[in-house]
Symmetry: D2
Subunit: 408 residues, 4 copies
């Protein structure tokens, strides 16, 4: 058992301690080890070559921040039992356990209507059976059913340790310093108010605003970067196309498990579905795309070559939707250039939108020196929060690079 209280190297947070045996057991489980083979940011490494980090590492990092947050709260006088500590750490450790390859892109693709959070919950319940109920508190916290609300807010809210870890981690591995946040500072400002909700000590207001702007920059500079958006979009189209071809009777090479999902129709999830799902990872999809480069289907092979050889289509970004006539023209040129008639398959408008700070759902609260709890945007110290409450939308038009020479 002493052996299980390991320390794991993390270039982002330094060292990650595993203070409870059960955490180690979950980490060792094949369901969790699978996350080693699922990238945290999908195809983003095509644009930011350092972004090869995994969901495995993110989950450990978030668990570490949870530990730090709970330590901070205890030092401020919040009572937290060992069972609650274990529960909260387990919940955040497993919060992404239901992620499949290249989710978010593919999650509804492989299993209709299955959101990764449902799958996470399903797998947690399975693990809970195996570990004889030891995960029950964790599951309650994950679902927001635990009576002390701040545990769930640390797991899932506008300022949870999930976001704290992924922003810092993605910023670190992409090298996009605009997204860097000071997790240590933000956590040191966390507190719990009388009603048992997560709040931020008022003097942390600028760190929170910096967190909100950093997140916004990460979205537009990284996650919604026009080429990132394109790569994710292509992935979805590739799997859609493959499912479509398969439904037409075309035989596409793929691993057994991936094939299973390509052939699977719309229906309720079975035990086999879940079992096979837990054996899928990014390799199945990457390998399929490598193979499908040689498919007889022009569209499938075109897209797979685009991704595999990183020879990506052209994109234009705009804050307005593109003129349908302009799009029509691109399709026409595509048809002409390739001598095809389904050029519309290769020209698409992709839409991305972001609300930097949502004041409607789970606003962020500041704890005044007086003990009063106020909304971030109502603080007289706030500088930007009140300005970041509107959605921004961007439109990205993609079309074959080859035809762009003849246009602009």
């Amino acid at each position: 058992m002493q052996n299980k209280l390991k320390i794991i190297n993390d270039p982002v947070h330094g060292f990650i301690k595993i203070p409870h045996e059960i955490l180690f057991d979950i980490i060792e489980h094949p369901y969790f080890q699978r996350l080693r083979r699922i990238g945290q940011t999908g195809l983003l490494n095509l644009i930011f070559p350092g972004a090869t980090h995994t969901r495995f590492h993110h989950a450990l990092g978030a668990m570490h921040l949870m530990f730090t947050a709970l330590e901070t709260l205890k030092q401020k006088g919040v009572k937290i039992s060992e069972e609650e500590e274990k529960g909260a750490m387990l919940a955040i450790l497993m919060h992404d356990i239901g992620h499949g390859p290249f989710s978010h892109a593919l999650e509804s693709m492989l299993m209709d209507d299955w959101h990764h959070e449902n799958l996470s919950l399903l797998l947690m319940n399975r693990l809970n059976d195996q570990f004889k109920g030891e995960l029950s508190v964790a599951i309650e916290m994950f679902q927001g059913k635990y009576h002390r609300k701040f545990f769930n807010q640390l797991i899932s809210s506008q300022l949870d340790v999930d976001r704290l870890d992924y922003l810092k981690r993605d910023s670190f591995f992409t090298g996009v310093s605009e997204g860097s946040i000071n997790t240590q500072r933000i956590i040191s400002m966390m507190n719990v108010c009388e009603e048992g909700e997560l709040v931020i000590d008022a003097k942390g207001v600028y760190s929170i605003e910096n967190f909100l702007t950093a997140r916004m920059f990460m979205y537009w500079q990284v996650y919604y970067h026009k080429t990132s958006a394109l790569a994710e979009f292509l992935l979805v189209k590739i799997l859609e196309r493959a499912k479509h071809l398969v439904s037409l009777g075309v035989d596409l090479p793929a691993t057994e498990n991936l094939k299973y999902f390509l052939y699977r129709g719309k229906s309720a999830a079975t035990d086999e579905d879940v079992e096979r799902f837990t054996q899928l990872d990014d390799n199945d999809v990457i390998q399929a795309m490598k193979n499908w480069q040689n498919s007889d289907d022009f569209v499938l092979s075109y897209w797979c070559r685009c991704v595999t050889q990183r020879n990506l289509p052209k994109t234009i970004i705009s804050s307005h939707s593109f003129d349908p006539q302009f799009i029509e023209e691109k399709i026409k040129k595509t048809n002409e250039y390739f001598g095809i008639d389904n050029g519309s398959e290769l020209v698409h408008e992709i839409k991305r939108k972001l609300l930097p700070y949502n004041t409607e759902k789970q606003p962020i609260y500041l704890l005044q020196k007086s003990g009063e709890k106020i909304r971030l945007e109502d603080s007289q110290d706030q500088l930007l929060s009140g300005l970041m409450v509107n959605k921004t939308t961007r439109f990205i038009l993609t079309f074959p690079r080859d035809i762009s020479h003849t246009i602009s």
Copy 2:
């Protein structure tokens, strides 16, 4: 001469190379060496103990960024002669050479109406005489008289290498990560447009916006932090008080040079003024405050003890001006507590304001792929710039800590 092409360690930028002999000669000059004894951020180290860095180091850092910026521009095809490179590097190296001890706080205190930029120019001209005109181009660039405008814009504008260095450096030494900016990225996005003005490549828009928000956070979190504002305010009051006492015939211990300025009345600057000024530094003022702790004047000794022993008065911050009646009450309590009748000397409202992005004077321009130059706030990619165009003001009320126990 080989000996002069030194490398200087800088924890902020890594290594600073000195590529021209004349730069080394200026650095060696006593006028410049004096900057080693002038802190970059005055009394801020009372709040941020790491902030002990000097104007000497900042000037070297800014020179380094100028070098990097010019290298970048050359790689983009902008022709820059060796004479221009030397000029620009000299100008930024010397841009703060006229700073006295604890400026900005004290600059108009020691010599009436003398702004440090005037003094910098005056000292540059003196050095130019000594170096037989070698600094003429630098001085033209510093004054904005050189025909290629971007050189002056690199020295002094809303996005100059001065700001780039001091933001990064102050963030580094204070440990306030919210102010950290990516100077390497911002400089790599610099360009010169057809009209010879400094512009930013359009894809750098988020780095610029991040720079603007980082700067705003540094102002409110560091420079205008209520205790920082207070410390700077006290310094001014101390020197004012000392001048006042001296004018009444009180003998205050001070170094010879500081005494000279305490006694000096309002009049045009003489050669002696300048000579003595270049021998003053922070030590003269710190030493004086140490001594004046024992002054017979209650107010002077009170303030000097506050600063020297870091036993600072109480402050409250607000986004509105304080109610005169509330202030009056504080004065009354002060009088009562100390048994004095000039309690109004110890109760003050300090005001700080900031315009994060000034669209009127020297707006920041983006260079579109099309070659067109547009204002940052007009870009369709901008997320925050258009929102940061209004002044924010804060009011800080200070009064003796001792009386606060009886109030809140």
Copy 3:
């Protein structure tokens, strides 16, 4: 073409510029893009979860350091033509292009006697044909045939930019700070002596010694960490076992290209070999191991489960070879535990050795102020170099974890 002069984000070095069009063309080539799918440190991420970085990124990083090194040398007066700069940058960019999946572990496994450097050269020559001889200088430099020796020394020596990048990069991604080196400082100390060889300015002596100790720590703490050594060893055994089973007529699932190499006997390399090799990457091997977990062969399935589920065998490390009787005992217990008779397949002694500083082959030279060139270990300033000239060897014994409970 303007479009090709891109900037790539690198969390390690900041930003990587691509200053010549031909470099961009090579990066775009499928041979090079393949390196995105080949990890820099193989299975090390089983021990250091951050170590998911790729050979693709390393090659770009090394190219960046080459650029920096050449800029430094030019500033010191070394004449370097544009053709030489391109050549050196191309050579280092392509120096690892011949790496296959999980080399160094597998390089001699897939293709007998084929060292990755031979393959790199072969692929460079193919590319040179495609690019009509534009890579000729690069290839000369890579082979050490170019008349100015320092170019080859920058590519391949005890202090080349390859080592500088991989040490810094591996230290960064593993989070093992003991291996961190100051590449900027080391490069700033590089020079070329009269004979045209790479030397280090004498005052850089401690940076070089720090580089040597950092490298030594990285070997024993990371690359030769007992679990790292084990993982690499298992990989080799898995492929050996698979080849063996295939030769016995067993049908093992694998991608077409991997299968090709499993079946390929010993013979001279053909064009098909090369073509197929350039389509292999880590995914082929990972996918195979995932499949082979279910193999009927006990040994193969055992090892593949070990690696895929990170349920690794036990290891003991020692500075002496293990007692044969002790090993024999482990084998006996393994046979007993599993009820098998080939337990010797699961018990192995792995050996790792390192010579921190090799004074025989390519010693490192310091350039004294006097212009004299001396060996690092002969410098009167050196502190450790003279002590680091002997090989250290470690022995690692591995055996099934399950039997360890019955022993210690």
Copy 4:
């Protein structure tokens, strides 16, 4: 009281928490606030301009590391009472409280035979009186009289938190990355053995060896850098000279407190000595040197100009003592050049020596998995420790720069 549990920004360790009220009270005390005006590394900023950090900040940093170390030990099952925690943190907070201006250079200069540790103890006892015995445990621990030895070893040994902080801090502020150590890692490896002594978990062996090499590099690259050694040497000579002149009846301008010590003869320390000592800081000495540039004494004014204007004499470094004849020649040239006859005052050989790892006094112990405690140098894993057990000595010859032109 809530108000006292502050957080202090530290660019080195992130944030420093003050978990006990008494710590805050000590920090507020004028004895401790004085450390804000005493540089951690004396005149080193003449060579490394970033090194302007103070003993105040170092003491806080060491206190923070003590807190982290104790947390780690508790997590490993070592029982530590709150009183012990307070004691250990107080002891390390105050360990340098007896430092005067520019100690170590000046400590025996101002008050004969007074080592700063004696003064620290004396001041601690005074504070203990003021705080009614609350510091008693701290003082016991500081003196090594507390029954659990590891507390004293954390305060003062070959691997104490004092060294951990100053190495990391000095490396950070100088920018000399070769001295960077991973304090977080080293502390996470700390443990207490059965005998109650501080030990290091065996797997931390390389982190310890890296600490030893980093320390060695910091000594030779920074603290004993020939110009650093020179600057410190000059400071001593300046004060010696001033005392000498004063003893001859020369009137030298100085602050009242500094004057007191210049005039003070050899005798036992009085209460007045202590009182005045606690009012001295770097400013007194810097201001004196600024004034003494104009002294009538050639030697004093020469040295003070050297330091104040950073126009330092020439130095040569060697691993052997210099030939007396060579030195004689320098003296002769000095006499000739300046037309003086006491040139021997300006030519000196300075000696610096370092023992990287002392196996005699307080060796470092590793805790084997078996529970056995072995000496670092006896571990079979150690790579360098056994090689670093001998003293290295360097000799630095200094002489006026002006005469060097006539020689080499």
